[in-house]
Amino acid sequence: MNHILEKHTLQDLLQSWRQDYDVYLPQKMENFSHFMPLTETSVLVDGDPHNTRIPPKALFLPMNEALVKFTRFGGYEDAKHEIQSRIVFGIRPCDAQAVQLLDTSFIQEDNIDPLWSERREKTITIGLGCHKPCQTGFCTTVGYGPFDRADLDAMLTDLGETYLVETFSEAGEGCFLGLPVASEEIYNQALDIQRSAHDQMPVAFETENLKGKLEQNFKSDYWDTVSQSCLGCGVCTFLCPTCFCFDIVDETQRRERVRNWDSCMFRTYSLEASGHNPRPSRVERTRQRLSHKYVYWLDQVNQIGCTGCGRCVRYCPVGLDIRAMLRQAQTLPFEVSHAA
């Protein structure tokens, strides 16, 4: 069902949800937006062309959370987490897509991450399409789009004074009960906006044969070239909405086993106790990062593991640009016979 939401009533609507849900929405933090819980005085960051700086994966996989508690006599018990029913409002389609991609890793048959899946079940996601797509994003290039519905419960399209609300699930519909139904005309207007946003996005690089090229050139100088100015920090991976690696660490003083975000760009990520490191330098680590997104994800679930949000492009301290790296990868030699 499609509804019309007047922008000036948005605040009231958000506040009304607070009775039953914890509501998260992008709010201003310093000079960027960040998903924070709604309070009486919260304001939605409007007109920020950018995504939140920390991707919403953090709402489902917190940067630091306890997994296990140590009990007194050498025992272990599950760490308890109170997980409330939540509404995440204003999630961008690329991020929603990314969260859905991460489900394939965290929710596998008989191998389910309890915390992730509980958070996912208890969260209603309401998206906000990108009517003015950002400059660094390349969602259409990797097969997604600025108005992809992913598994959102509802999505908003900015029409100036109003939002068009498209609901895709019962839970989503439940959030917007009582709002006027959008007319066909308005819906078409929204579709036009969606289409034009989609068309505005340039093709950043060709994806044809990209997987094969990266695979076949596993031992190529290409990786030396693209990684030489890399600093080896974790910005690209920590801000990536589809990066999910984590580290499990014992915090002795808290008597907990916790998980922290980890990054394949760190030296200690794959360092073994013997001192051997399968990925000893930034060359191998960069290769792992790119290959994971553009090769391994495809092997595993047949989808590119990058939703083109553009965060890594924007915040890389040395201006390394994944779009340029992949354009360069397209110039690599490729033998079709191998691809079969």
Binding site: T71, R72, Q253, R254, R255
Partner: protein, 146 residues
């Protein structure tokens, strides 16, 4: 009765030679004082101090040998530079300078450490408990016993 201030005491073991002091330290140290004996004040990494502060110490006391009497020649001088600067730095971001005290002792100085600790404790009581930088999550007492 309010809790006594928690003091982290870092003590170079070379200047605790006086038997009475040693005995006092080993057997009669009050519960609110957490002693760490180090081989030299030079061994005190600023991170030890940070650990104490983050763990909720109301005061940190560092005691070492007199200048030119360091067992390792210059360990205490090196410590002086580092720890003094670290103290300034912690003060800059919110841990009061007065909560850290440095004392130099002689091998023959009997009882000084006790007197100093008592005086320091009194000063700390006047300042109240330290809350800044004490960020390390502590396991609640009840939980630990469960």
């Amino acid at each position: 009765m309010p809790d006594k201030p928690k003091i982290a005491l870092f003590q170079c073991r070379w200047c605790l030679y006086s038997p009475t002091d040693q005995e006092w330290v080993d057997t009669k140290l009050p519960e609110n004082i957490h002693l760490t004996k180090t081989p030299c004040t030079g061994r005190i990494n600023p991170l030890y101090m940070l650990n104490a502060v983050q763990g909720g110490a109301d005061g940190v006391m560092i005691s070492g040998c007199l200048p030119e009497q360091c067992h390792f020649k210059t360990g205490n001088m090196a410590a002086r530079r580092q720890l003094d600067e670290f103290n300034d730095f912690l003060d800059y971001i919110g841990y009061d300078k007065q909560r850290v005290r440095f004392v130099w002792l002689d091998l023959q100085d009997r009882g000084i450490i006790q007197k100093q600790l008592a005086a320091f404790e009194q000063d700390l009581e006047g300042m109240g408990p330290a809350s800044n930088l004490a960020t390390r999550v502590k396991v609640a007492e009840g939980e630990q016993n469960a």
